[in-house]
């Protein structure tokens, strides 16, 4: 019988996995929450998408394309691949979605990542957005998130975001990279031979840098936004020079008038589905072996969820994951594995060049909001953590912080986003695992009450 592979996520990794699984002889269901394939990387306006058909999913007896489909749960079983619970409908978050349950032979998880943003005073003000939001609005809708924008944070993603803003007519006053020049240069120039396989990526970044130069946008390192101010929306950004550990150099503060502040401090892997499936996670990413297999039999992972390395590496991982999940022989993958390994080395390089300095917490003030949903501030969190961690007797090691008690007491991480945004910061402040959620994505109770649609096949 033909193997059935479900691929979740239709970005660069998922598209490559679906194609490879079909080539290996499997039947594929490719699922994405968006109504276009391509993910965040290939986002484009609907009219362009329809005119170009850039990712024609070869819908055939062998590949079913499910756009607008949310996977709300992966059901673990004692033996065999987890079952996939899906709601599908033409409108995002609509109330007319239908339920489906898929029982695949193998599962490829390629959910990608989203911006990580460290909290700072005023980051909840309207007009402060993630770099990804500015990018999505510019690339997907030709909308500028503001007329006078500041792009700040860390990582190479700052460059394409600033370029996209220029393309839609925004004035970008400057791009601030928090890492110091030394750290950036050390990260990017050590072991230069490893960069050979990433020439495409380097050329892409060079093109963005040239776009900034043409637009006369200054790019400064060792400087960060440490506060946003405004009455009801952002009006000013306070920036400051940082040391290598991201502590603020006193007296270096400067205020800039802006109506948009676009921030990113790297990426958070979307771990809700891998964690729901039971996959082992290390350092915020899914652990995979040479075949992209996770710790759960039948479940593979590819793309940013295994490490942030960009689209070429994600595609290479997708090919390996899809081919093996589809029943292909792993021996035939030597060349693509080499490309995948170059991509992994690139991920390590990025992490080295753009580390998060451990003293970023010094930007926080007692009234700085950490959990945006529940508006839990840093002072409240610290107080709750301190109350939990009081040593039992003199000289004893402080007992493990009861992070659950802190969360229940302060409601931090328990709001609508379920700690997707503040989770990494909470984890650092409270030493907890932010990714466990019983329901991966919200589902309406009415939809849950309906019986699932009858499966067409298997």
């Amino acid at each position: 019988m033909t193997r059935h592979v479900v691929v979740i996520g239709a970005g660069p990794a998922g598209l490559a996995a679906a194609t490879a699984a079909v080539r290996a002889g499997a039947r594929v269901t490719l699922i994405d929450a968006a109504d276009q394939a391509g993910g965040q990387y290939h986002r484009m306006p609907t009219d362009t998408y329809e005119a170009k058909r850039p990712f024609r999913i070869r819908e055939s007896e062998r590949c079913d394309w499910w756009p607008g489909a949310a996977v709300w749960s992966l059901e673990r079983r004692d033996s065999g691949t987890p079952r996939v619970h899906v709601v599908r409908g033409s409108d995002a978050d609509g109330d007319q979605r239908r339920r489906y349950v898929l029982r695949p032979d193998a599962l490829v998880l390629a959910p990608g990542a989203h911006d990580r943003v460290l909290p700072f005073p005023g980051w909840e003000l309207p007009g402060v957005v993630t770099a990804g939001a500015a990018q999505a609005l510019a690339k997907g809708e030709r909308v500028a998130v503001g007329g006078r924008a500041l792009v700040a944070g860390t990582g190479p993603f700052l460059l394409p975001v600033a370029a996209s803003l220029l393309d839609v007519g925004a004035h970008v006053i400057e791009v601030l990279e928090a890492s110091t020049t030394g750290a950036v240069l050390r990260g990017w120039t050590h072991r230069p031979w490893e960069l050979a396989g990433q020439a495409g990526k380097a050329a892409e970044l060079a093109a963005y840098a040239a776009r900034l130069a043409r637009g006369h946008v200054p790019y400064r390192t060792g400087r960060a936004v440490i506060e946003a101010r405004g009455d009801g929306r952002i009006e000013e950004a306070v920036t400051a020079r940082l040391r290598a550990d991201w502590s603020v150099v006193p007296g270096s503060e400067r205020t800039s008038a802006v109506d948009a502040l676009c921030v990113t401090h790297g990426f958070t892997a979307r771990l809700e589905l891998p964690v729901a499936a039971g996959c082992a996670v290390l350092g915020g990413f899914v652990m995979v072996d040479g075949d992209q297999a996770t710790s759960v039999p039948g479940v593979y992972a590819a793309g940013e969820v295994t490490g942030i390395a960009g689209a070429p590496a994600a595609r290479a991982e997708g090919v390996v994951a899809g081919w093996v999940a589809g029943g292909g022989s792993p021996e035939r993958l030597r060349a693509i594995r080499r490309r995948r390994d170059e991509g992994r080395a690139f991920a390590v390089r990025l992490a080295t060049a753009h580390p998060i300095g451990r003293r970023w917490t010094e930007w926080l003030r007692p009234d700085t909001i950490v959990c945006r949903c529940e508006e839990t501030d840093y002072g409240t969190l610290r107080q709750a953590a301190h109350a939990q961690a009081t040593p039992l007797r003199e000289g004893a090691r402080a007992p493990g912080l009861d992070a659950r008690a802190v969360r229940l007491g302060t409601r931090a991480g328990l709001g609508p986003c379920q700690a997707r945004i503040c989770g990494p910061a909470l984890a650092e402040l409270l030493d907890t695992n932010p990714h466990h959620r019983p329901v991966a994505w919200p589902i309406r109770l009415g939809e849950l009450a309906n019986p699932p649609e009858k499966e067409q096949t298997t």
Binding site: D91, G94, P416
Partner: protein
């Protein structure tokens, strides 16, 4: 004017109302995109009453939730506007007892 820009001007219009205010966008735009292009930044209120709008832009943060044709908790950054959509804004300050998921 670039060719792609000219082609874009030919894309059909979408008309919606947000709290009664008529707004116009291009077909395929999200509700959040139409609101931002019209100059709106906040349109939702946090439990304290503080104003909120788009933050993540890709459906992760739930800060941009709106009600569309009576259905609550729709992520404005994901939902493509349809001609005639009646959008109303939401506040968590009014009814903190009624929790979103």
């Amino acid at each position: 004017m670039t060719r792609s820009r000219r082609a874009y001007e030919a894309v059909p219009m979408t008309r919606i109302t947000v709290d009664g205010e008529p707004l116009t966008g291009r077909a395929g735009q999200t509700i959040a995109g139409i609101l931002i292009a019209a100059g709106h930044r906040p349109w939702r209120r946090a439990p304290s009453g503080a104003p909120r709008g788009v933050f993540c832009g890709i459906g992760v943060c739930f800060d941009c939730l709106v009600t569309v044709d009576g259905v609550r908790d729709v992520r404005a950054c994901l939902r493509r506007a349809r001609d005639g959509d009646v959008v109303t804004t939401q506040s968590r300050a009014e009814d903190t007892a009624e929790e979103t998921p």
